[in-house]
Symmetry: D2
Subunit: 251 residues, 4 copies
C-alpha cells in the first residue's frame, strides 16, 4: 500500500467530529494528523502537513475554513450544512480555473441513502406508482425529512423526463392528511416512532408487482464510510463537487 | 367425521358469492346444498334442508333474508355491509329471548386482519408510539381504509384504558399531510400503489425497539377461511354475534 | 401514434399465452392479429402479416417456431425455457451475419425482478454483507428459486470485480441449514408460505446501515409489461439478445 | 405518587448494569440506592435499605446473590443466564412455602420480543404455514438465535395443541440449507448482516393472506423498560416467577 493520506478534522471535538476521527484512525489508508476545533489555530493544518480535511463544523465558520484550505492547497470533504448557490459560487471563485485543491460539499454521506435515492429515480420510469414512507425518532423537528423531499424531487424529475403523467389515484373520500404530503406530485408519509433512528422506504408499483427500496440507518456511524470514500476520491478531483454520488460508480 | 353442515349461499352468483360456494364445496365438513341469488325463490333454502346460510348480498335485501332465516331456524353468517345500531336492534328483536338460530354479522372475515387488529390493541399499552400504514391498489375510493380506522380506534382505546397520554412528536415544521391523518390521536398513512391488493402495517415503538404487525391480503379468497370458521361456530352460538373475533380463541 | 405493431402469439391458449393476448390487445401500440397453439398451422403467422411473435410454448417446439420466424423475417420475444449455450449458438447461426429478424430470449419478463437484480449487483461493492431471502407459495418444487440463484451469482461477480473478500460471519455454533444455502459465497434463504406468490428481498449491510431491495410479484400478469417492452424494442434490435435488461435503460 | 421503590443493582459496573442504573435513576417511581459489583460487600444492600435488586452478573455468583436476597427479604429481578431446572428447584427451596421475597428469572427482558413470541404462538393455529427469519450482526456466534429457537418451539406447541399436521412444502429439488434449519418442524432462517443489531420476523400464511410479526431491537437499551416492568411487579409476586411474560397482561 502506498503512503497514507494525511487527514485533519475540523470540528474534531463535536459528536460527529469524534466519529470522523475514529474512522480516519481506523482505516488502513488514512492517518489522523490534526484535530482542530473552535478556539484552535487553523494554521495547525499546515504545520501538521495535512493533505485533506474533513469539515463538520458550523455554517458560520465553514467558509473561512474552506478559504484557508483552498489557499493552502488542502483538499476538503465537507458535511457542514448551509450551502446555497451564493456560497457555491464563492467557492468556485476561490478555486479558480486551475484549482489545486478539491472540495466536496455533500448534504448526505450515507452511501445507503444515496443508493436508495439513485435506484428510486432509475426505477421510477418503469412503474405507474411511487410513494415514499420515511420513519424517524419522535424528536425530529421537520416532516417530511430532507432525504424524503430530495427523493421525491428525483422521482418526479425522472417521471417528467420519461413523459409520464400523474399517478393513478381514485381517492374520492379522504380524511385530511391520509394521503400524505404532496412533494412535486409524489406522496410522502412521515412516521415518528420512539426507538427508530432514520429509515426510508420507496414503494414503486406496476401491473401485478411492486419494487420496494428501503434504507435503514441504525447508528450515527453510518456516515463514516461515505466520508472515507470522499477522502479517497477528493485528491483526484480538483475543483468543486456537490454530492457524494459523483464519487460512486453508479453507472 | 360427523355429518356435513348443509349450507346455502345467498348472493351465490356474485363475485364474492362464487368464492364462497367454491370454499363450502371444497371444505371437508360443509356441503353446498342451495345457491340463491336475486330473482330466485328464497323458499329453496327450506326445500334443500339448509342448516346455515352465508349472505353476501346487498343492504337492501339482507334484512328480508335474515328475517326469513330466523323464522325458519336457519343460522346465518353475514358479510353484507350496512348494519347500524337500528338494524342490529331489529335482529335482536326477531331472534327473541330464546333464539333457535345464530346470526353472525361480521364487517371483516379476514382472520389475518382480525389478528392484526387484536394484537395491535394488545401491544399498544407497552409502547410509547404507534402509527398505521395502509397500502392499497389505486382504485380504492376512501382513505384511510375502514380497517385502518378501526385499528386506530382500538389502539386509542387501549391507550386510554392504560392511562397513557399523547404520543411523543416534536414535529415543528411540517408540510401539509406529511404526518398522516389523525384518527383518535393515532396517525394513519394511506398509500395507493398499482399492483397492490390490500395491506396494512402497524408500527409500535419504545426505548430501543419496535414491534411491527403486518397483514397482507394478496387474493380475494383470503376471506373464505373466516367464512368457514363462522359456519363451524355459528351452530353453537344462538342469538346475535357481531364480529368474527368472538369465534376465534384470542385469549 | 404510428401504425400498431402486428403481433402473433404462439402458445396462445395456455395460461400465460392468454394473459399475453389480453395485454397485446389492451396496449395502445400493439395489435393481436394471430393466435397459434399446438395443432394450429404456423403459416397463419405469415397469412396474418405478423411482424413480431411472443412465444410462451415448450422447449420441445420452440426451436422449430423460431426457425420459422427467422426464415420469414418475423421478430420474436421468447419466454419459453430451456435455452442452453447450444441452442443459443444454433439461433445465432440461423440469424446469420446480417439478421433481418430480432430474437429476444428472456428467462424473466418481470421488470421489477430485473431491476432488483440489477440494483443488488450495483450496490454490492458498497456493503460488507449481502444475503438473499426468497419467499414463495409452498407448491414450488425448487429451492432456492432461479431468480435467487441468479441474483446471488450477480452479487458474487460484482464483489469479485471490486476485489472484495468473503463476508463477515462469526457463526461457530450452527444448526444445520440455519445460515441458508451457499450460492457462490452468497447466503440464500427460501421460505415456503401459503398465501404468497413470488417475492424476494436482498439485504445489504455496512457500518451502521442496511439497504434492502424487495420485489413482490402479486399476480401472474406482472410479466406482461415486460413482454410489451420487449415487443416495442425488438424491431430495432436485429440478431440475438439474451435478457430483457438489455432493452431497459439501466445506465 | 407513593414512595419510590428502593433499588440496588448487582453487576452495576458492567455494560448492561450501567444501563440498568441509568434506567432506575431515570424512572419516576424507582430510586437507585445501591450499586454493587465484584469485590463489593453485598451487605451494602441491607445497609442501603434496598427493597428490590436487579441482577445482571454471572452464572458463577448469581446463586449466592439470590440466597442473600431471599434471606433478607429483598426482591430480585434477574437477567443473568444459566438457570436450569436444578437451579430453579434450589431457588424454590430457599423461598419456601410462604415466601417473603419475589424472584423473577427472565431470559429476555425485551417486551417487544416477548410480545412477538406470544402473538406468533397465538396466531399459529390459524395459518397453514409459519416460518421464522432472524437477522443479526455478523459477530454473533450461534445460529439460529435463542429467541428464534424459543419462538419455533412455541409455534410448534401451539400447532400440536390445535391438532395441526406438518406444513405444506412441495420442495423436491433443494440446495443444501436453502429451506433453513428445522426446529421442531418450524423452518428458521438466520441472516448475518453488518449494520444490524437484533431483529426477527415471523411470517404466517393461509389462503390468500399472510400475517407478519416483526421485532427490531435497535439499541441495547431496549431491555430496560422490561426491567422496570419487572421491578414494578415483583413486589406483588412473592415466590418464583420464570419469564417476564407473566407480568404482562397478555390475556
Amino acid at each position: 500500500m502506498s503512503q497514507k493520506l494525511r487527514v485533519g478534522v475540523l470540528g474534531a471535538r463535536g459528536k460527529v467530529g469524534r466519529e470522523v476521527c475514529r474512522a480516519v484512525e481506523g482505516a488502513p489508508d488514512t492517518e489522523l494528523v490534526a484535530q482542530v476545533d473552535a478556539g484552535d489555530d487553523i494554521e495547525e493544518l499546515v504545520r501538521a502537513g495535512v493533505e485533506a480535511v474533513v469539515d463538520f463544523t458550523h455554517p458560520d465558520v465553514v467558509m473561512d475554513n474552506l478559504r484557508f484550505c483552498i489557499e493552502h492547497g488542502i483538499h476538503a470533504v465537507v458535511g457542514t450544512t448551509g450551502f446555497d448557490d451564493d456560497r457555491l459560487e464563492q467557492l468556485r471563485g476561490w478555486l479558480g480555473d486551475e484549482p489545486r485543491a478539491g472540495v466536496l460539499i455533500a448534504p448526505n454521506f450515507s452511501i445507503g441513502a444515496i443508493l436508495m435515492m439513485h435506484f428510486a429515480a432509475r426505477a421510477a420510469p418503469f412503474f405507474e406508482s411511487a410513494e415514499i414512507v420515511e420513519l424517524h425518532h419522535p424528536d425530529k423537528a421537520d416532516a417530511p425529512s430532507g432525504t424524503a423531499r430530495r427523493t421525491a424531487a428525483l422521482i418526479a424529475a425522472a417521471r417528467r423526463d420519461a413523459g409520464m403523467g400523474t399517478m393513478p389515484d381514485a381517492t374520492s373520500t379522504v380524511l385530511d392528511g391520509a394521503r400524505g404530503a404532496d412533494v412535486d406530485g409524489v406522496r410522502v408519509h412521515g412516521l415518528r416512532i420512539r426507538g427508530l433512528v432514520a429509515h426510508q422506504e420507496v414503494v414503486l408499483g406496476g401491473v401485478g408487482e411492486t419494487l420496494t427500496i428501503r434504507h435503514d440507518s441504525l447508528d450515527r456511524a453510518s456516515f463514516t464510510p461515505g466520508v472515507l470514500t470522499g477522502l479517497r476520491a477528493i485528491t483526484d478531483h480538483p475543483g468543486l463537487t456537490v454530492g457524494l454520488e459523483n464519487f460512486l460508480d453508479l453507472g
